[in-house]
Symmetry: C2
Amino acid sequence: MSAVSTPAHTTLAIVGVGLLGGSVAAAARKHGLFSRIVGAGRNAPSLERARALGLIDAVVDLADAAAQADVLVLAVPVGAMAALFKTMAPLLRPDALVMDVGSTKADVVAAATENLGARIEQFVPAHPIAGSADSGPEAASADLFQGRTVIVTPLAHNAPQLHQRATQLWQALGARVVEMSPDNHDAVLASVSHLPHLLAFAYMAQVASASNARERLDLAGASFRDMTRIAASSPPMWRDIFLANRSAVRAEVQEFKAMLARIETLLEAGEGAALETFLHGASQARRLWNQSNP
Amino acid sequence: MSAVSTPAHTTLAIVGVGLLGGSVAAAARKHGLFSRIVGAGRNAPSLERARALGLIDAVVDLADAAAQADVLVLAVPVGAMAALFKTMAPLLRPDALVMDVGSTKADVVAAATENLGARIEQFVPAHPIAGSADSGPEAASADLFQGRTVIVTPLAHNAPQLHQRATQLWQALGARVVEMSPDNHDAVLASVSHLPHLLAFAYMAQVASASNARERLDLAGASFRDMTRIAASSPPMWRDIFLANRSAVRAEVQEFKAMLARIETLLEAGEGAALETFLHGASQARRLWNQSNP
């Protein structure tokens, strides 16, 4: 059975129907991939809104989600995964594909390994590089994954056809699929996603806690806006991500402080030419990146 | 004579017709504030393009710009101001208003004080909080200052009517005018503009210099894009700003490192609740700012 080619009588169950879970539902519906989409989770008002928005056909409890799903997507904070795996493991259908959309992978794989038992074969970890500072089912979009990258970190245990179904499903939702190991995923994402969020939170906290914060914020312009946009992101979600990936995040913070120290040394010494060379390297790299990622 | 109310037979001279200088020209023309707009500077091809774009009526040499101007706007890197002041001081008309648009103020005021002699009375320093990662006359816009803030740092020497003319001119270009001392300007801008640029340059350099830079950049998404947009800014311009305002910038870097240290401590100790509280404070502050600055 393929989730992509035979939609009749197949059920997609999503645990946590917020921005990402809701967007999986919306994209799956748009592309006609399942005959039924159900939602489960702890946030009853949010689930009800997701149903009212038409993202899901019904709200079910966790046990029913696990028992009914042909494909089960866990779209909850990474800190909440372990308990879900444990609850659902005995209930899963033996041919069900289980995926997450968490921002970290090594910890989710560890939680799955510890709690899914033999069902670990059915779990294909995934991370869509697609997000928004907005959250909740109202922010969901059927086009969120269109042209975006989804990193899949298949496990040695995965049955080949499940691995293939996972890839086909993400492609059917509009994404390109990249495969990596969980550890490499976490190291790379610490660099290109987790560190920028940490820097934005730290910088925003710095400005907001200054004695003349109001004067500063009143004169903040476009550069401030760009630098801090992601500081409005969900605090519990980012607490989980920073803690789950703390060793890679701390390594990136160390590297960043080394970069700051280089600039400080150049400033202190008034080394204008070397400073300009440093800035030029960064500026060129950003312009080149933008050309490849318009 | 008012630059605002009597446009007939008045000349606006702009030295450096790039993004900011070109936008002053475009906005002044749109609002009909001068009968003639001339441009001067070291970059002959750029001046010729500005003339071809209709931003200026003619390209003139520095001596003619100084001698003809009713209002003279210096829109050059802050490191280039001192030499300009020195060249132009003996040529300025006694009723001319001289302004700059530099991103730092204490150093520009010092350069003016040292090089303008008695003409210091005619110099009203200004800094429009309006910019773009783009540069050059092609990026100029008649609406760049519309609804934006221009910080004016009037000097004790300024004749009151010149000070008033400066304010009225910026208001006529669409801006709101805020007055500050040069030192306070530099401290506040170090926080809300210079530090974000420094962080963006440092972060971009870190990613680009990693041994697996290509893999990282290939997986970079929206948060990376926002965090690094301003790292594409002009290296010579930012070299000048960082050096000119280095003591305030270094103080902000120190504060930032203290914020990083707080987060590192929470990560190391696994203090989830305290980490979430920290992130929540930043997130709330950013959301509130956005409500006031949509």
